[in-house]
């Protein structure tokens, strides 16, 4: 197995509460990994720990990305290296134009990769091509980042960021929450567009519905801060029927 990210004995806390309690997980490059688990299992904490979110304090363990430890890396450095997180609750930033925000992020990444920056017109063409595919209105370009966006618009905007930044490891934290069926389909289409056999996805979800659209290769069940089971997609219907209670730690 060609691993892109390896998480070993990860222990992390938010505030005074330890959430991750020795989590082990290996992400195979180019595959779609789904993380499922009951509320409070540590799914969002895991996603935040992987991107270096300031809420999280890592107590022990290691995360290696392409063979290099990233635990001490700043969040922006991890982003430049190609790790992307779509937030469960995207932040509203009044006064920051959506297009400026995205272009600044993209050009920072291009600069990091030794590529030429895109000018405003080149960027706008790129953005507009994705907007249409995601069924987003063109006024999203000039509106303030996420300000006054509906739940569905915020999630589509997260996917827009993903499409533009073209990351290598894509972590989607409950991207399906609050989406109606049309939005879910558009978001899934955006995700499937990025599946190229090289990019790796970590899809955190409560429901199997999105997994009908984004076919996962692996299902990892997270419970009480640890991965207790890893299986193929055949586990999904079992979980739907029986819940997490019957799953025993392997």
């Amino acid at each position: 197995m060609s691993s892109v990210m390896k998480i070993e004995n990860l222990q992390a806390k938010i505030g005074d509460k330890q959430i991750l309690k020795g989590l082990n997980l290996e992400l195979e490059a180019g595959k779609v990994h789904a993380i499922m688990g009951p509320n409070g299992a540590g799914k969002s904490t895991l996603s935040k720990a992987l991107v270096g979110h300031y809420d999280i304090e890592v107590l022990d363990g290691d995360i290696t990305y392409k063979g290099k430890s990233i635990v001490e890396m700043e969040a922006e450095e991890r982003a430049l290296e190609g790790i992307f997180l779509s937030f469960q609750h995207p932040v509203e930033i009044p006064g920051v134009n959506n297009a400026y925000f995205l272009r600044t992020a993209l050009n920072a990444k291009r600069k990091h990769e030794g590529k030429e920056e895109l000018n405003a017109a080149e960027f706008l063409r790129l953005m507009k091509s994705h907007l249409e595919m995601l069924g987003m209105k063109s006024d999203m370009i000039s509106r303030s980042l996420n300000e006054g966006f509906s739940g569905g618009e915020k999630k589509r905007n997260e996917i827009l960021q993903m499409l533009i930044l073209e990351p290598e490891v894509i972590i989607l934290d409950e991207i399906d929450s609050g989406l109606d069926i049309d939005a879910l389909r558009a978001v899934s289409e955006g995700i499937n567009k990025m599946k190229d056999g090289k990019r790796t996805f970590l899809v955190i979800t409560h429901y199997s519905r999105i997994l009908d659209y984004i076919e996962p290769d692996y299902i990892h069940v997270l419970k009480d801060g640890k991965v207790i089971k890893t299986a193929g997609p055949e586990l999904v219907p079992y979980l739907e029927e029986h819940g997490y209670d019957g799953i025993e730690e392997e």
């Binding site: 920056e117 000018n119 405003a120 017109a121 706008l124 507009k128 000039s142």
Partner: protein, 139 residues
């Protein structure tokens, strides 16, 4: 790509932006490609008279083609120079002389320039046409 096609391409770019501010910012953005002139080329004869901020324009004739190089000191001048040099530089002198500068209006940005900036543009064009005329005459 001839001068009119270059203008059409830029028009397509400017049409992407919905507000005047965005169009002006795109001009500033173009200025990132702006190059400078060596100090010895910045003199009275290359100085663009009447420009809102200091700017210089050098014209050289090579086999009947006019090669233009310029330097502006403000962000606006840098952006406008980059845009205008893309349109006017490295063209046969005849093509420049036959070009109607009113076609620059097609860009949809000239009206966004302040009266002082519009004067600067006229001063720039006057120099370009003078260089082109000299080039044609082989002076």
């Amino acid at each position: 790509m001839n001068m009119e096609e270059t203008i059409a391409n830029y028009k397509e770019d400017f049409d992407l932006f919905s507000t005047a501010d965005e169009k002006l910012e795109y001009i500033f953005d173009l200025g990132k490609r702006h190059t400078t002139l060596p100090d010895e080329e910045k003199n009275e004869s290359t100085f663009v008279q009447g420009c809102a901020s200091a700017a210089w324009l050098v014209g050289e004739c090579q086999d009947g083609r006019l090669i233009l190089r310029g330097e502006g000191t403000s962000e606006m001048a840098k952006g406008m120079l980059t845009l205008l040099l893309d349109i006017f530089s490295n063209r046969p002198a005849d093509e420049i002389l036959a070009f109607d500068p009113a076609k620059l209006q097609d860009l949809g940005i000239i009206e966004l320039l302040s009266p002082v900036r519009q004067q600067s543009l006229e001063a720039f064009l006057k120099m370009v046409y003078a260089y082109a005329q000299k080039c044609k005459e082989g002076v």
